[in-house]
């Protein structure tokens, strides 16, 4: 469903991209309060009673509601204190988005490093078990883990492919080897975060281009995820 939604993301041909200034500046704190903190609490609460632990895990499940709700409250508070002026917000907005993507990238890389260290610190755990779903897992928790492992693999693969096929990334000449190395050390989520930061800057820079024939045709449809993008990608891999 998520990737179905991605098919409709705006392309670089989009003439303008408008984001409410009052939303842009509070998205990072909204995600920290509505997602990162409840997720942390869900794990931390395993030290408490089973019932409280379940309550915290239950609260975390509501993050798709918690994030917009926090955003609404914070927007109202910030707008009351300091109403954004469109002309100033236009320049600042890009900074908000860059900080937002870089913050998310930092969360991704830190958790990846922490969990990788956790695997290496315990002799009975292996990277194979960590990443490869066990279809023959006998226990319920093993079966849930296999479900999540499939989920992880497909989400990461699809997103990496989608962002790598984005015309701005293809044109940038970012090395595939470097991306793979970064992915191995810091996790695929970190690579996705960095590429999304790059893409966001590209969308900002190119949001006005509309009649630039060659670039326009390369970007194709749906963020440049067209056939020409695939051709360019295959040429780069061949090189």
């Amino acid at each position: 469903m998520y990737f179905f939604c991605q098919l409709r993301l705006p392309s670089l041909r989009t003439r303008s991209r408008t984001l409410p200034a009052s939303s842009a500046r509070v998205l990072l704190p909204s995600i920290v309060i509505g997602y990162v903190f409840p997720a942390f609490l869900g794990f931390y609460s395993s030290r408490w009673s089973v019932s409280k632990n379940q309550l915290c895990i239950g609260i975390f499940q509501l993050f798709p509601v918690l994030i917009p709700a926090t955003r609404l409250v914070l927007s109202a508070v910030f707008d009351t204190i300091n109403s954004p002026k469109p002309a100033v917000a236009s320049r600042r907005q890009m900074t908000h988005l860059k900080v937002l993507y870089l913050g998310a990238t930092l969360v991704s890389s830190l958790t990846h490093l922490y969990t990788t260290a956790g695997i290496f610190s315990q002799t009975d755990l292996s990277l194979w078990e960590f990443y490869v779903p066990n279809l023959l897992a006998p226990s319920f928790d093993g079966k849930v883990l296999a479900f999540l492992q499939f989920d992880y693999i497909i989400i990461m693969f699809s997103t990496l492919l989608w962002i790598w096929l984005d015309s701005s990334v293809i044109q940038s000449g970012i090395s595939l080897t470097l991306a793979l190395l970064l992915g191995l050390v810091f996790g695929p989520g970190t690579v996705i975060g960095l590429l999304l930061t790059y893409r966001e800057a590209g969308l900002d820079k190119n949001s006005d281009f509309k009649l630039d024939g060659e670039r326009n045709s390369i970007s194709g449809s749906h963020g440049g995820t067209g056939f020409k993008s695939l051709e360019k990608l295959s040429k780069r891999i061949a090189q």
């Binding site: 798709p64 956790g118 996790g187």
Partner: protein, 128 residues
């Protein structure tokens, strides 16, 4: 109008995801086990399942289902699952940010990203 390869590729990946996730989860009997546990009011480790969260029945039923699924892998009794879930949620953050940002972009109002967060705005500015 000719269709690009990605027009088919990403929906195919969605189908693959549906099969690998739900197909496997149903065929290995995990969904049945989860249903039975919820009916009995227990978790996989036979601890009592919490069924009251908000006091609103449909929401509580949904949360009990989600907790029944998530609790075993979040538990410190299963370190591999706990570490994996931690990594999964952390690495998902940039993807979630993409989805959230795009859902607030006004030009996406007629797209499915708006299903995530439809918000009215009083102050707006253009990136262009």
């Amino acid at each position: 109008m000719s269709k690009t390869p990605t027009f088919y590729l990403f929906p195919l990946l969605s189908l693959l995801a549906a099969f690998c996730l739900w197909g496997v989860f149903i065929s290995n009997g995990a969904l049945d086990t989860m249903d039975q546990n919820i009916t009995k009011g227990i978790l996989a480790d036979t601890s009592p399942l919490r069924t009251t969260y908000t006091g609103i029945r449909p929401i509580d039923a949904f949360l009990a289902n989600m907790v029944s699924f998530t609790f075993p892998v979040a538990s410190d009794k299963f370190p591999l699952g706990r570490l994996f879930l931690m990594n999964f949620l952390g690495e998902l953050t940039p993807i979630m940010v993409l989805f959230i940002v795009e859902s607030y972009v006004i030009e996406n109002q007629r797209t499915s990203t708006q299903l995530y967060a439809r918000s009215h705005c009083t102050q707006s500015c253009s990136l262009s």
